[in-house]
C-alpha cells in the first residue's frame, strides 16, 4: 500500500459566535454559502483537488448538521478504502471526558488517529475560510525549504493588519516572531490559519504543550511561539488569490456579494478546480415571462416570477410575482 504522505486535520469545532443566529443550531463550517455550498466545501474540495485523501474533521460545537453533511465524504470523493474522511469528536476516557479546549488540544487528543497513518507531514486547516488553494504546492515548498513548520500567509492592507495574526519574517521568509492582532504592525503578512508541520516535530510540541498548565492550547498563541523559541525552522508560504475569513455576518455577506462581482478572482466555474458539495438534485431553475433577473446567482430548483437583483438564491427558492429582491441572500426553502 502507498504510504500516506500527509494527513489533513480540519478544525471544525468552533462555535462561530460572531455569526449569531446563523450558528445557533449548526457549526460555522456548515453555514450555507454562495447559493449552493456550505463553508467547509471549500476546504474539503481543496483537499481532494490537492490529492490529499486522508482528512480528519474535528467537530465539537453543534455537530449534527455537519456530521450528516459530511457523511462518508463521497461528495468530495473522500470515501476511500484507505484514509478518506473521518469525523473526530471529543471523547471520554476511563477517568474523564476531554473536551477540545483549543485548536492544539483537539489535535493532541487525536495523536492516535494521525499515528495510524504515520505520515511525514500534517496539514492543519480550518473550516471557516472561502478560498481555493493547492495544498500540494505548499507541502512542496515546505519540503524544499526543509522547514519544521510552514504557515500560509496573505498580504493584507496595512490599515487592516492589526485585525490579524501578523508574521514577521526575514528576507528568506523565515518567521522571526508572531504577533496576534498587533496595535502597531511591523509587517502585513497575515496568517491564514493553514499550517504544514513535520509530524515528528508537531507531535513532540503537542505533548510538551499538554504538560504546560499555562498554555491556552492554541496553535497561534502557544505552539508556534514555542517552536520559534526552540529555534525550529518556521517559514511563511505567501499565498496570492482570493481568501476570505467569513467569521462575521458582515464578511460572510461580503463574500457572497463578491461572487456577483464580474472581476471577482474566486472562479467557481473552473472545471479543473471544482468546488464539490452535496448536490440537492432538483430540476433546473425556471425564470417566468414576468421575471427580471440581474447580477444574481441562482441555484437549481428555484422558481422565479418576480424581480431579483444582486442576490444569491439557494436551491428551491420561489420568488412570487411582484416580489422584489435586492441584495439578498435566500437560503433553502424560503417561500
Amino acid at each position: 500500500m502507498v504510504k500516506t504522505k500527509c494527513v489533513a486535520m480540519l478544525l471544525a469545532g468552533g462555535q462561530g459566535s460572531r455569526l449569531n443566529e446563523l450558528t445557533q443550531n449548526i457549526a460555522k463550517p456548515a453555514v450555507p454559502f454562495g447559493g449552493k455550498y456550505r463553508i467547509i466545501d471549500f476546504t474539503l474540495s481543496n483537499c481532494t483537488n490537492s490529492g490529499i485523501d486522508t482528512v480528519g474533521v474535528l467537530t465539537q460545537y453543534q455537530p449534527l448538521v455537519l456530521n450528516t453533511y459530511i457523511g462518508i465524504g463521497s461528495a468530495w470523493d473522500l470515501d476511500r478504502k484507505n484514509g478518506g474522511v473521518t469525523v473526530l469528536p471529543p471523547y471520554a476516557e476511563t477517568k474523564e471526558v476531554k473536551w477540545y479546549t483549543g485548536t492544539a488540544s483537539a489535535i493532541f487528543q487525536n495523536i492516535n488517529y494521525i499515528d495510524d497513518y504515520n505520515p511525514e507531514y500534517v496539514l492543519i486547516l480550518s473550516g471557516d475560510h472561502i478560498y481555493k488553494m493547492n495544498y500540494a504546492t505548499m507541502i512542496e515548498y515546505h519540503e524544499k525549504k526543509k522547514s519544521d513548520a510552514t504557515i500560509s500567509v496573505i498580504e493584507v492592507p496595512w490599515e487592516e493588519a492589526s485585525r490579524f495574526g501578523i508574521m514577521n519574517t526575514n528576507s528568506e521568509l523565515e518567521i522571526t516572531d508572531f504577533e496576534e492582532k498587533p496595535e502597531h504592525p511591523r509587517n502585513n503578512l497575515a496568517s491564514m490559519g493553514i499550517y504544514v508541520f513535520k509530524w515528528s516535530v508537531l507531535r513532540e510540541a503537542l505533548i510538551k504543550d499538554s504538560e504546560n498548565p499555562d498554555s491556552s492550547r492554541d496553535f497561534g498563541k502557544d505552539i508556534i511561539p514555542q517552536l520559534l523559541k526552540e529555534k525550529k525552522k518556521v517559514n511563511a508560504f505567501p499565498f496570492k488569490g482570493y481568501w476570505k475569513d467569513v467569521g462575521t455576518i458582515k464578511s460572510l455577506w461580503e463574500a457572497n456579494m463578491d461572487l456577483l462581482d464580474e472581476t471577482n478572482s474566486l472562479d467557481l466555474y473552473d472545471h479543473s478546480w471544482r468546488i464539490y458539495s452535496v448536490n440537492p438534485n432538483q430540476p433546473p431553475q425556471y425564470v417566468s415571462p414576468d421575471a427580471k433577473v440581474k447580477e444574481s446567482l441562482i441555484n437549481e430548483g428555484c422558481f422565479v416570477e418576480g424581480h431579483v437583483e444582486r442576490s444569491v438564491l439557494f436551491q428551491g427558492v420561489t420568488i412570487h410575482k411582484r416580489a422584489n429582491i435586492y441584495m439578498n441572500l435566500l437560503s433553502c426553502l424560503v417561500r
Binding site: K36, N279, P283, P284, P289, V293, K294, E295
Partner: protein, 341 residues
Amino acid sequence: MNKNILGVIDATTYLDPLKDLTEQRILAALPFGGRYRLIDFVLSSMVNSGISSVAVFPKYHYRSLMDHLESGKNWDLNRKRDGLFFFPAPNLDIPFHHIGSFQCFSYHLDYFRRSTQEYAIVTNCYTVLNVDFCEILEKHIENGCDITEVINEGRSLEIYLLKRELLIDLIVERDKTGYQCLYDLIEDSKHPYQVCTYDYEDYCVMVDSIQTYYQTSLELLNPSKWQELFKGNQPVFTKVKDEPPTKYAKSSNVTNSMIANGCVIEGHVENSIISRSVKIGKGSVVKNCVIMQKSSIGENCVLDSVILDKDVRIEDGVRLTGSQDEPVVIKKGAVQGVLMT
C-alpha cells in the same frame, strides 16, 4: 415500497428521425430538460416505485449511457443485493423487433431466472413521464390480467407489465409461438392471454423525432406541464455534476426559460431550455432554443429556433434561424463561425 417488480429498460432502439442527435450516442442518453437524459424518466419512475433491481439492455453507442449511469449510485441502485444491471447486446446484427425483443433478453436469461421478483415491467428508454408503477400493478392484479399495456390517448407508451415467469416462458418459447416481442403478442388477435390496458393520463411524451424532441423540450416552459413531470414527492434523478449556481450578469435579460446550473448568462434568453455549464455572451439573443451542456455562444449572436448539441461553440456575430417545425440542429462538438453561415 414494492420490491416485487423487476425493472427492464429496453434501450436498443435506434430512430432514424433523430439521427442528427443520436449519431454519437444511444437514444437513452439524449440530453433533455436542461440536466437530464431521456432514460432518467423511466429509471427514476422505477426507483420511486420501489423497484430495486433494474436491467438496462443497450445496443448502439452506449458509452455515453454507461458514463451517465455509472454504478447506479445517483438512483440509489448501487446495492449489494439487486441494483443496476447492464446487459449490452452481444452482437449488433440481431434483427430489430420493436421494444422488448425476446431474442435480446434471451442472451441474459440467467438474470430473469435468478431474480426473485414476481412481476416485471418492460419499458422503452425514450418516454418522458413520471409514473408510479405500483398503481399499474394494483390495477393489473385487481383485473386479473396476464399482460398490462400502458397507453395514453389510445397510443401505446411501450410499457408492459407481466409476471416474470410469463416473460421467461415467452422468451424461451419465442420460436414456437412466433412472438418475437410483446408487441407481436398484443397485435395477434388469437393469443390466449388476458391483455389489459392502463390509461396513463398525466403528462407523457415519446420522443421519436427532432420535432417532438424540440416541441417537448419547449413545452417544459409551461408551468403546469412542468409540475406534472417534476412532482415533488417523485423526484427525477440524474447524474450530478457539481456545477455552481448559474450566474446572471448585469447585461443579462432572461425571460420564460429553464436554466440548469453552471451557466454564465450575459445576453438575452427567451423561451429556451439551457443545459448545464452553458455560456451566453454579451449582446447575444437566444430565442426558442434548446442548448445542450457545455456549449458556448459568443457575443452579438442571434439564435432563433435552434438546437445546439453538447460542446458546440458559436463564434461571435453568428446568426442562425430555424422555424418551429424545422429547428436548425448543430451537431455535437461543432464550431460555427460567421463565414460558415
